[in-house]
């Protein structure tokens, strides 16, 4: 059965991920111009609201709230081109809303974009692909259709997928996503 993941665990994992990313960028010759570790581009997701609340108090990560997921994709491109660690934190509905920009930026543009996508309304006792909610059910098939590698975060033991899929997005120069199964705690 899936379990809720505590916000501090997610935030610590993201911080570690960005530390590793900064070290890799430094090896490429990128000089950091900022005190923080990296950027989280968010269109607020109810499913991950405990993480967003905790991020408000977090100084090591810079959060930019965007009006739309389309913007988040394009801002992520600019930050990556400019040598900054960045991730996009959205909800499945936002994925559906921004699929053309994901295609244009991350697939055709070959910009690495890492997504944390909340599966709002995912039932605890059902596989997401069998959810009675279309917004939950269609998420993984849509990612499959666009060849976006993805993994489920089904509990605290899965947070290692965050750095793994972040690295994957950089290695394959494209999109990669983790799906937050239950509402974060």
């Amino acid at each position: 059965m899936p379990e809720s993941i505590p916000a501090p665990l997610i935030i610590d994992t993201v911080k570690d991920t960005f530390k590793e990313a900064r070290a890799a960028l430094a090896k490429e010759g990128v000089k950091s111009r900022h005190d923080h570790l990296g950027w989280i581009l968010s269109v607020p997701d109810t499913h991950q609201k405990s993480v967003l609340a905790a991020l408000d108090k977090e100084r090591a990560l810079r959060v930019l709230t965007c009006s739309t997921e389309d913007e988040a994709n394009a801002i992520a491109a600019g930050l990556w081109i400019g040598g900054e660690p960045v991730m996009v934190m959205i909800q499945h509905a936002g994925l559906y809303a921004s699929i053309n920009t994901l295609r244009g930026v991350a697939i055709d543009g070959r910009v690495p974009v890492f997504y944390m996508i909340g599966l709002l309304s995912r039932e605890r006792d059902k596989d997401p692909r069998e959810s009675r909610h279309s917004m939950v059910r269609y998420c993984e098939p849509l990612l499959d259709l666009f060849d976006v590698p993805h993994a489920r975060l089904e509990g605290p033991n899965d947070v290692h997928r965050i750095p793994e899929y972040y690295r994957l997005s950089r290695e394959r120069r494209g999109p990669a996503a983790v799906l937050v199964g239950l509402e974060t705690s």
Partner: protein
Amino acid sequence: MAMKPEAILRLIAARRGDAICVPTMTTAPAWRTLAFDDLSIGCVGFMGGASSLGLGLALAHPERRVLVFDGDGSLLMQLGALATNAGAAARNFVHFLFKNNVYHTSGAQEIPGGDGVDFVMMAKGAGYREAFALHELDDLERRLPHILTAPGPLFVQLHTTLADQTPMTAGMGVPFPTQVDALHSRLIALDSVR
């Protein structure tokens, strides 16, 4: 009066210094002839994304000016970007809007609201530090030193005629991923000599 977009871009190209520039749609063909192989990247393949792409670059490189050459039809596709851009409060961010009131590339259909859409008022309402409209090339020339140095985010609505070329007549130019690689590499190379 309305300005020729090519004349505007020539003026900016001559004064931009080491600014990163982000053209899109009908500003892209002319910009390619003025400033190829430099710190520019066209927004290609995700219409409406130019100012967001520029914002990301501005946030990554606060020491460098970022100039976005947006279109009115494009901006309408991502109007919420005005609030995001203003909220990010990047002091090095300049958002030029080339306002010709039509979707030129697809055959010059009028944009929703046509000439009556007041993007300056929207930008002010969204929270840009400064927002104003210019109709004459002389005015742009006179105000350009301020535009290129004043704390942003700045919004400059430029009333223009149609461009000589569109991406359909001139071609799309260098593919977007190639531009991405080139700018990424150039910025890293510039870091190595800092």
